[in-house]
């Protein structure tokens, strides 16, 4: 049983404002997650803007240092105080796919040069062997090396560029791929090509994915587990089918109620307006209480506790805990 992903008391605080008015934003606020499995899994991190999901990705990718807490990926500590994994080892365990396919490659370089670099620098191969590895990687994403070689980023569509990014990420045989909004900037008709690719790579190469998105429909399609984030806190976590069809946390319910699906018309007209201010990041108690139709006095005082349900879910809510 491997620890695919574990976050313990993970926090990240940013300071805002100039010299005198330093407001603090808790982008991540004591996040705890644990995914253990001996099979590759797809874990989705869903949330709106400001939920902290992108910050989480940056922490896991070591692009940002956490203020507190630790992260372990595939049994390897990757983030936290004093954690400094060996660079090559880290790059062979974790690889990213970013949101904007048109920014993933420099406009001054051939896209395949990045793949070659990965093969040479991370895998330690020589030029000739690297070419083979690159060609194989491109083949696994459905592209031919001849069609990619020597070309620049503007000669491809968004979907193709994303697949090239995936190919590059595959070269070091990573165990976990962190995909941060990988399809949100791709046309809808081309999205499933990339999403289905994730699923086939998961089977073929035994790679787990951390899929970060605000799009619940694709999260439902592709994930085994889902964690719902709100303003830096996990509010609900569990098997994707359960969480997204029978949500327990009021925020998850609100989210699911609001997405424009293509198979079911909206029922309720009731919306609660949200004022997005930094204040909501520093609230005591439950951060969702200002918008929660079920909120009671205790929600304003105490942090919602973790409730483990029989179906394996984790929900952080006073109401679900039966506190009122």
């Amino acid at each position: 049983m491997k620890t695919i992903l574990r976050a313990q008391h993970l926090s990240k605080t940013y300071g805002l404002g100039g010299l005198f008015r330093r407001a603090k934003i808790n982008a991540l606020d004591d996040v705890n997650l644990n995914v253990e499995s001996d099979q590759p899994v797809v874990v989705s991190l869903v949330g709106e803007s400001g939920s902290g999901k992108t910050t989480f990705a940056k922490v896991v990718l070591r692009l940002v240092e956490p203020s507190a807490g630790r992260v372990v990926v595939f049994d390897q500590p990757v983030a936290g105080k004093g954690v400094k994994p060996d660079k090559r080892e880290f790059l062979s365990i974790v690889q990213p796919i970013f949101q904007n396919p048109f920014e993933a490659f420099s406009s001054y370089r051939n896209v395949d040069s990045y793949l070659m670099e990965t093969a040479i620098q991370v895998n330690g191969l020589k030029q000739a062997e690297a070419v083979e590895v690159v060609a194989d990687a491109l083949a696994s994403v459905g592209l031919k090396y001849e069609d990619v070689k020597g070309k620049y980023y503007n000669q491809f569509s968004g979907g193709e560029l994303q697949r090239i990014s995936v190919a590059r990420a595959l070269i070091p045989h990573p165990n976990v791929v962190i995909a941060d909004e990988p399809v949100s900037m791709i046309d809808a008709s081309l999205r499933m090509n990339v999403i289905n690719l994730f699923l086939s790579l998961k089977e073929e190469f035994r790679i787990s994915f951390l899929y970060i998105t605000h799009d619940l429909a694709t999260a439902y399609y592709v994930s085994d587990h889902v964690a719902v984030l709100y303003r830096g806190n996990v509010v609900e976590f569990g098997p994707a089918r359960l969480v997204l069809t029978d949500p327990r946390h009021p925020y998850t319910r609100l989210l699911l109620d609001s997405i424009p699906l293509t198979n079911r018309k909206w029922e309720s007209k009731q919306i609660v307006l949200a004022d997005i201010e930094t204040k909501e990041y520093q609230l005591e108690g439950c951060k969702f209480r200002n918008r929660c139709p079920y909120a009671r006095e205790i929600c304003g005082r105490q942090r919602p506790p973790l409730v483990k349900l029989e179906d394996g879910r984790e929900v952080y809510c006073h109401m679900v805990a039966g506190h009122f």
């Binding site: 790059l91 990213p96 920014e103 420099s106 406009s107 001054y108 370089r109 670099e117 990965t118 990014s165």
Partner: protein, 274 residues
């Protein structure tokens, strides 16, 4: 490579100046800075295309050497400032942290301290007897800060871009990223910066010379104007003496500007520029 019209014009102008600076001095028969070689204040003629000045020098040949010296000084200063500003700007912009803050403290001080009054003070201390090397050094010291700031802000913004992360996860180290990812974006601006530095050097030297704070015996565009003003070239009718260096400066500026912008255009249209 298809060059735009503007680029072609710019290059032609620069080529004319460069060639004249290289070739013509070799065929000059007199040292144009030597006074009294010719009768004073002669009008324009075949023998003296721009006439002679009040010190008995042939204006045309003086101009040729002036342009050469100014260009050489400009290029020497600019080469140095460009390299310094590139290295320091990249170091500051990409590294961040206290290294960046320390460097920027130095850079900002150099930018905000008014260099011209200091140069004047320095100039009065040496009173027109400085060597060219000293002038070069002074221009370099005061010339690199502005471009360094520019490079640093570019490095800062590029640092945040996605392809930097791609390169990082492809195994590249910081130096490699600076060279292969950051530098190409900075490069086009550096060419512009290089050309602007040439202009800065020539102009500043000229400004210093005009108030008498350069090596006045050496022909440069600035010293030429200085002497022309000292001898009241306009009043005595030797218009060529003052107009020629001014026009030459303007043309040189034009050539440099057209080349730099034309080159920038060419560079950006060639690749898949974001």
């Amino acid at each position: 490579m298809e060059m735009s019209f503007r680029l072609k014009v710019g290059i032609v102008i620069l080529a004319v100046f460069a060639l004249s600076s290289l070739i013509l001095p070799l065929v000059a028969h007199e040292d144009p800075s030597e006074q009294g070689s010719y009768p004073k204040n002669l009008p324009m003629s075949l023998e003296h295309p721009l006439g002679t000045n009040s010190m008995g020098q042939d204006i045309f040949w003086f101009l040729v050497f002036a342009v050469r010296n100014s260009l050489m000084l400009g290029a020497a200063v600019s080469a140095c400032t460009t390299i310094i500003s590139l290295v320091i700007g990249l170091a500051a912009g990409y590294t961040g942290g206290w290294v960046e803050r320390l460097i920027m403290l130095l850079v900002d001080s150099l930018i905000t301290i008014p260099s011209f009054p200091i140069l004047i003070v320095l100039g009065t201390l040496v009173r027109g007897k400085t060597s060219f090397l000293a002038i070069w050094a002074i221009l370099v010291v005061f010339g690199w800060a502005w471009n360094a700031r520019m490079v640093r802000s570019m490095a800062l913004s590029i640092r945040e871009r996605e392809f930097i992360s791609t390169a990082r996860f492809s195994g590249s180290g910081t130096l490699r990223i600076l060279v292969k990812e950051v530098f190409p974006y900075v490069y086009a601006y550096m060419v512009v910066g290089f050309i602007n530095s040439i202009l800065y050097a020539i102009n500043t030297e000229a400004a210093l010379a005009v108030i008498g704070l350069s090596k006045l015996e050496t022909p440069t565009l600035g010293t030429m104007v200085f002497w022309a003003l000292s001898y009241n070239a306009m009043f005595i009718g030797q218009y060529a003496w003052i107009i020629a260096p001014v026009v030459a400066t303007i043309l040189l500026f034009l050539g440099l500007f057209l080349t730099s912008t034309g080159y920038n255009e060419l560079f950006s249209s060639r690749r898949g520029r974001a």
